[in-house]
Amino acid sequence: MDCKIIETWILTDYLDGELGPAKLQALESHLKTCRACSDFLQEAKTTIVRPFEDTKQHMPQQEYLWNRIKAKIEEEPKQYPKMTLERIIRSFRAPKPIFALSTCAALILAVFVLTQARALYQKTYNRQLAATALTEQLEYFASDEITSFGTDAENYFL
């Protein structure tokens, strides 16, 4: 196996215990036969692993830092979402793709509703016109009184 690949594995997954079983086996059998890679592993352990092993956690001055945090929080108190205006502003701060998508959906819905409403109104209006015309026609035929036969010429002859 190529020593460059082995060095890469050593510097990353092997030192960090993230190497899978197959690669681990391949690496270990390579190390048995390659002195250069074995030396590289020892050097890597000494130089880049051991110095970090005994590092201790630095602690802040707990109370001092807490007082600073508390003062800053109290200085600018958190605004809870109780105001409607804030909620509206927050909705505008939403990620752009979500905002754009929701705006498009709202526009499409509005256009659809308006088109449907207009079509329904037109249909109702036409029905009313037809009903009025029919009523007038029926009233005309039901009436015995003939006041006119149509145009002046028709009235003259009939």
Binding site: L11, T12, D16, P51, K56, Q57, H58, P60, I69
Partner: protein
């Protein structure tokens, strides 16, 4: 970090300072430690830790309970620290050399300090100083905080292979510069 109960998080997100203090007590150590390791400056680390906790307090109601609180806090801390590094780079006059940083860090409180430990601490500080901020963040999270590659990828919002390549590059630099830092 010790476990923080969901109840505590909920109470803190509703504004309870007592609950938030519990979170602070459990997390302040690693937040400050990560910031200090990345920034190598006590005052900057304190400022970043302060901003991180104020940010956490204000964002707790947006925290998604399905994810790890610890990883979420690491993410906020690393981002704040890297932003601070960038700000510091812009402020040329405020540039802190390694010697200045060492001088400033003289007063650091290290648990149970001893001569050998202080020597090791100085070596680690010098080693981290050789790396760029992104590589330093990876090394701190892996070698000091003990996060897995996956946790580092989530905390830094990068691909797991980017974590690998940053660690590899950082360790190559440390190997190359071993005589300078030792």
């Amino acid at each position: 970090m010790q476990e923080i109960s969901i109840q505590t998080i909920k109470e803190a997100s509703e504004g309870s300072m007592a609950a938030f203090r519990q979170i602070y007590d459990k997390a302040s150590g690693f937040v400050y430690n990560v910031a200090l390791r990345i920034l190598n400056n006590k005052e900057d680390a304190e400022e970043v830790a302060q901003d991180v906790f104020v940010n956490i307090f204000r964002s707790l109601d947006k925290y998604y309970f399905g994810s790890s609180l610890k990883t979420w806090m690491y993410r906020i801390t690393v981002n704040a620290s890297l932003n601070c590094v960038r700000r510091r780079k812009k402020e040329i006059n405020k540039h802190v050399s390694y010697d200045d940083a060492l001088e400033k860090n003289q007063g650091l409180s290290i648990n149970a300090p001893g001569a050998k430990r202080i020597e090791d601490e100085e070596l680690v500080t010098r080693m981290l100083d050789m790396l760029n901020p992104d590589q330093r963040a990876c090394i701190v999270l892996r070698n000091i905080e003990g996060l897995s590659y996956e946790e580092i990828a989530v905390a830094l919002a990068i691909n797991i292979n980017t974590v690998r390549s940053r660690l590899k590059r950082a360790r190559e630099i440390l190997l190359t510069c071993r005589n300078e830092v030792a």
